[in-house]
Amino acid sequence: MYSCRMPQSLPDNTMAHIEIDNLSKTFRVPEREGGFRASIRSIFRRKFREVRAVDHVSLSVEAGEIVGFLGPNGAGKTTTLKMLSGLLHPTSGSARVLGHIPWRRESAYLRKISMLMGQRQQMQWDLPVLDSFLVHGAVYGISRQDYRKTLDQLVELLDLGDVLKKQVRTLSLGERMKCEICVSLLHRPEVLFLDEPTIGVDITMQARIREFIANYNRQQGATIILTSHYMADVTALCKRIIVIDHGRLLFDGVLSDLSERLAPFKVIKIDLTKELDGYDFAVLGHVLARDGRKVVLRVPKGEAAAITARLLTDLPVLDLTIEDPPIEDVIERAFANRLEQVDDGTNAPAPDGKGAGS
């Protein structure tokens, strides 16, 4: 299936699928004050501001892993993915994916990867879906049997039977998403970069896409790096989470560890039999919510048991549950922590304009 030319970098099976070492990307964003004078001056001497979109990130990913990249807008997630897919050249550092250097953009490498950017369209707008698939097959050099086989599988998995003959412009958003996913998998990539794959899609479709990705990973053993805003994406799919903010890697590990380290709390929800004034909950823990007979309390993990016992003794409790804090809170604390910890003036905000860093 691959061309007879030797690829410039030989894949090495003992290496991790993805190796990133001190990868950095700095954008120079032109800065200009308003006003006519400044406009003229800017012709002669341009002032630039340096934005570190990715700041010395190192990590490695094994074959078949699904890794979640988490971070607020402008954190550097998309920029990292773009470097790994060869779209961007890094400012410094190195990376190898499947043994190749991504930004060399070797044909052999590009045939093994796939990138799904939520808003982007890979299909011909005015033609039937099947035509776009055929073009993709030709462009990626997929043999006819492989194409047929993969297409049939994907059509069944994604339930695309009715959609194939329709023009792309007439598809609903959900149908289009499914087709985009199908087209990006036709060449059976070994590595998948999914950038906000469920953005703008309704809840049911989100769940189905997640299910599909999980299945694909299981069946094909593809390595998947996923960025998302939606915690549900991450919790459903990724055992391993990487938290990025301001281009720096904040956390790399298992999701439960993240809670453990950053938010070692438990949330106690109490439902009382009757309204109670005068009981000081604040002394026990942080009161998250209070509404008549219901109280939500956040307490340190270690003290949860003791506090629960105390509450049960002191109060007329109808119902009591102990939960882990919502993952959104965990992540939020991670970022808040970051800003407190490292206040060395590198608070470079995300560059303005269309998403040069994300």
């Binding site: 060869g86 796939s114 950017m117 890979q122 011909q124 033609l127 073009v135 462009v139 050099g141």
Partner: protein
């Protein structure tokens, strides 16, 4: 190699499909290519009439008709719009998905270019014939001039495409330069012999025109096909120069493309 051919043909098929969908718009674009030479012919034939010898710039009315008839054909076959499109593709992030593919985006552009010419053929050829019938051109063409001329037209089309594409790469550095396309077009108009045959240009401009590729994109095939270039050596040299320009620009493309992609900020839209 066969992989690229297969991909190109797939792009071509898809592009023809799209062109057919937009046939109304496509035809409107093609019409300019018919009207502009016709108007210029009318003007130059009036200019020739206004001179005692019935000639202007060494062309008789009939020769102007022949010249602009061929310019009409060459102009149409030389259509290339990448110099206008590239900035738009980069700004809107539409280039990124193309960069992810294992073949160069230029193949898609070439396929769309060829598809346009195929799709418009059925319409423009009768129009050309009608124009020729109306203006009664004077041809002095021998067989060898016709043969070499046909080759010159094909080379001119190739040259137009590749030069346009390379110039469009400027958009990687200066994304807001919308005027680039217009400047490029204007140069082709004046220095390529579209507005006026090169013999009509004053000496210093003529001298500049000879050194640039534009002459070989329009004026040369036109002069050859109408029988104005009588020396076989000169004609063959011209073909050689066309080919040389194409080779040089392809080399420039290979160098510039790698540099350009590095500059691509992969802006998302």
């Amino acid at each position: 190699m066969t992989h690229v051919v297969r991909a190109f043909l797939a792009y071509l098929r898809a592009a023809i499909g799209v062109m057919f969908q937009y046939r109304g718009e496509i035809l409107l674009w093609a019409i300019w290519g018919l009207i502009n030479p016709a108007v210029l012919y009318a003007m130059w034939s009036s200019a020739a009439e206004g001179n005692p010898g019935g000639e202007a710039a060494g062309f008789t009315r009939g020769q102007f008709a022949a010249y602009y008839f061929i310019i009409m054909i060459v102009g149409h076959l030389a259509t290339a719009w990448d110099v206008y499109e590239m900035g738009y593709m980069i700004r809107t992030g539409k280039l990124s998905p193309l960069l992810l593919r294992p073949i160069l985006p230029i193949w898609k552009s070439l396929a769309e270019n060829v598809a346009y010419k195929i799709a418009t053929l059925l319409f423009v050829v009768p129009m050309w014939c009608i124009f020729a019938w109306l203006v009664t051109p004077t041809f002095d063409t021998a067989m060898w001039q016709f043969g070499l001329g046909a080759a010159a037209v094909l080379l001119a089309a190739a040259l137009n495409f590749i030069l346009g594409y390379v110039v469009s790469l400027v958009a990687f550095w200066v994304t807001k330069l919308d005027a680039l396309g217009e400047v490029y077009f204007g140069l082709g108009m004046f220095l390529g012999g579209r507005f006026a045959p090169l013999d009509a240009l004053p000496e210093p401009v003529r001298w500049i025109a000879d050194g640039l590729p534009f002459r070989w994109m329009f004026a040369f095939p036109a002069e050859l096909l109408m029988g104005r270039i009588t020396s076989q050596t000169e004609a063959l040299a011209g073909i050689g120069i066309q080919a040389a320009w194409i080779v040089c620009i392809i080399v420039a493309f290979k160098i510039l493309w790698t540099v350009a992609v590095k500059r691509h900020a992969a802006v998302s839209g």
